[in-house]
Amino acid sequence: GDSVTQTEGLVTLTEGLPVMLNCTYQTIYSNPFLFWYVQHLNESPRLLLKSFTDNKRTEHQGFHATLHKSSSSFHLQKSSAQLSDSALYYCALRSGTGGYKVVFGSGTRLLVSP
């Protein structure tokens, strides 16, 4: 079945440094949808980024990611971390619309310190 791997459970950074959170996925479907969700403490997951197109960069709120089907990757990046970026980040995969469920990675906790 579909799966998503996030290798880092915890990433700690100093404010102002670049952010990179890794995400790789597995699916037999050729046109998956990839997402990044952010979940702040005591909140629900909020959609941060989405991509359906191979090798096209998608950006939102200073974050960006590029879907690379050749390497089955969708890494999340930001040039300069802010304190308010501290949260849980989930990479997620959906192989189609309609009845296809969203499969989540295990999440990466990002802690940004002053």
């Binding site: 959906r94 619309t97 009845g99 469920k101 969203v102």
Partner: protein, 111 residues
Amino acid sequence: NSKVIQTPRYLVKGQGQKAKMRCIPEKGHPVVFWYQQNKNNEFKFLINFQNQEVLQQIDMTEKRFSAECPSNSPCSLEIQSSEAGDSALYLCASSLSAEVFFGKGTRLTVV
């Protein structure tokens, strides 16, 4: 901002009690999902619906879990006899196309 409405936000039940939570999906979204997020922040898919029909569901824990999405009424997830291990954040989400939007969740505590 998500327009998926979940009630109640918090639910406390004793072991063996029924626990029922509701979800109003975003208007026009035909697909509804229920996920359980445990204390380790892991997501577990429970069930999804398209309109009123079940699309997929897991083997819902000895059938203690039931869910429905009747027409013109909120969707619901009910645990017939709550156990301590059911304590979690229950997230409802809805979808029109590829994106899936979550409600604020119902945090269930079983004491």
